[in-house]
Every structure is written in C-alpha cells, then in structure tokens.
Point group: C2
Amino acid sequence: MPKRNQQPELASKLSDKGIRLTKQRRILIDLIESANQHLHPSDLLYQAREKGVKLDRTTVYRTLTMLKELGLVEELDLLHLNGHEHYYEIRHDRGHIHIGCISCGKILELHTDCLSDLCDEIRQKTGFIIKTVRTEVAAVCPDCQRKT
Amino acid sequence: MPKRNQQPELASKLSDKGIRLTKQRRILIDLIESANQHLHPSDLLYQAREKGVKLDRTTVYRTLTMLKELGLVEELDLLHLNGHEHYYEIRHDRGHIHIGCISCGKILELHTDCLSDLCDEIRQKTGFIIKTVRTEVAAVCPDCQRKT
DNA sequence: TGATAGTTGCAACAAATTTGCAAGTTGATC
DNA sequence: GATCAACTTGCAAATTTGTTGCAACTATCA
C-alpha cells in the first residue's frame, strides 16, 4: 500500500521530461499516486472509467510501461498470491518490502535497512551495479495465526 | 540455477503424501531436480517430449501448481527480464537471491545471510510467521558494464 | 490559431494459463 | 497377476493478460 496523499509529483516529472500530459495519463498517475492498495492494470482501467475518463486497456499498458521505463513506478507480482496479475506502485527511494499473508491475502509494507546491507554484499561479491531490489515475503499474519 | 545432482527427493516426498507417481510427474520432477537453469513450463514440456515422454501442456501446469501448493517448488518471474514467463525451481531452505542483468538477461544466484536478519526483523516488527522470502535484483553485470 | 509530433482507440493478434470431460492409469487389495 | 475405484491425463475450447499496426485525434509551442 503506497502511502496516501503523497505530493502529486509524477505529473511534473513527466512534463519536465517533455512527456505530454494527456487526460488519460493524468487520471492514471492520479490513481496510482492516491491508491491505498496495489493496483493492477484492470483496476486502473475500471477506476478511471468510473471517474468518467474514456480510455482503453492498451493505453493503460502503454502508460505503465512508460512509467516503469522512466523508473517512476515499480512492477510487483506480490508472490502470485492472487493469480498471475502484476501490480504497480510508485517507486520509493527508501527500501521497503512487501509481506503477503497467504491465508487472507493482506499485504503489508515494511521499511527496513537490511536491503542496503544486501546491496553492499551484492556489489562486493559480484560487481553487479544494482538498479532495483524487490523483496516479497509470503507469511501468515497474526490474525490468521489466531484463527488456526 | 538450482544445483545439479541433488538427491531425487521430490518423488519420495510425493509418494509419502499419497500422491501418485505417474510417468508424467516423474519426468517433470526429474527435469526440475536436475536442471542447471531456471525452467519455464514450455521448457519442461519440450524437454520431456525430447526424452520420449508424451505429455500435454495442461499436465505441466497442473503438476507445477501441485508442487507449488505443496511447497516443493517456487515460482519466480525473474523480474520479467524476458517477457512474462514464470520460472520454477526446487525450494531451498537456505536463503538465496536472484540477480538478473537487465542488459544481457543473465541470471546469477547468490547465497546470503542478510535474509535471515531480515526474517528476524520481520518477525519482531510484525508478528508474521514467514513461509517464503523471495528477493530479485535487477542490475547490470560486469561484462555489460564494460561494453558501455 | 495552426502545424506537428506525440498519443489514443480500435481491432486483431499473440502468449500464457485454465476448465470440462471422456478416456486412460495408478496403486491398493485380493 | 487381475480387478476396481479413485485419481490423472490429454484434448479442445475458452479465458486472461499483454502487444501491435494504423488511422484519427490532441497537447504543446510558435
């Protein structure tokens, strides 16, 4: 769950890069920025249409691809806890991981410094230059532990 | 890349659970256990057919789903560096991560202890009981760094 | 306001995965 | 080893997810 009420930065980042702000792109980045849960392409399509904006699946996919290539959003699979859909969220600088409950499907975000240790280790051991780290955890949440 | 020449344990784990060992399942788990790279469903299908076993895509998917539900294999997307295929590997106990080069597509595995620190942190902060931790890293490998 | 280069929607395609069901197989039992 | 019920498989068709080509449209800048 990306944080609510973030500054709407994506729009200005896009126009800074000379990318046109069409109404389709505006609604999509608005939805992504204000989402309180992770969204997949179909969510975005239906939510945008609910708000009265006409757009097509193709545009959703193209916009997400563009945002991903610009490094502004990240694509997650959330361990395929609910089928094979892909989810999108604003890309944050601080490392955070996703923990999904395999019983109820709830997704929790956690900020941690472990990831930067991991990055250091990778750099030293392999010489790879790291662009993105994605950590996803399958687990059972306290609520579901009690129920069983 | 799962390690070569592991003990063929999957077959006995399956029959212990009362699951029938058909020739289709035998060849599939054999391929997964002896693979030296990550396999996707089509790889498995063609490799099994090369060995003279008749089987259908459907059976590959059904078998992989079963193995995944039993916690015997893991499904990876390897950051979609090569399209949207999913890959499968034997589930290991020791933590290891996948590092993919976004330039040449090469996948490297790395064993690390950072993940157990992370697990401790998650347990303490959230109370979740962890079942699987999956870390995938997008990076640029040393070879590709030189080329640019 | 007009020009133009970038965007969109549509239709068709492609790839990945799933489902229903009849026919075939496994493994326990005799 | 033969029998049989329950489990599995293969096939065909459908579904879901994502992509492509192209004509029509539109945001932006002079």
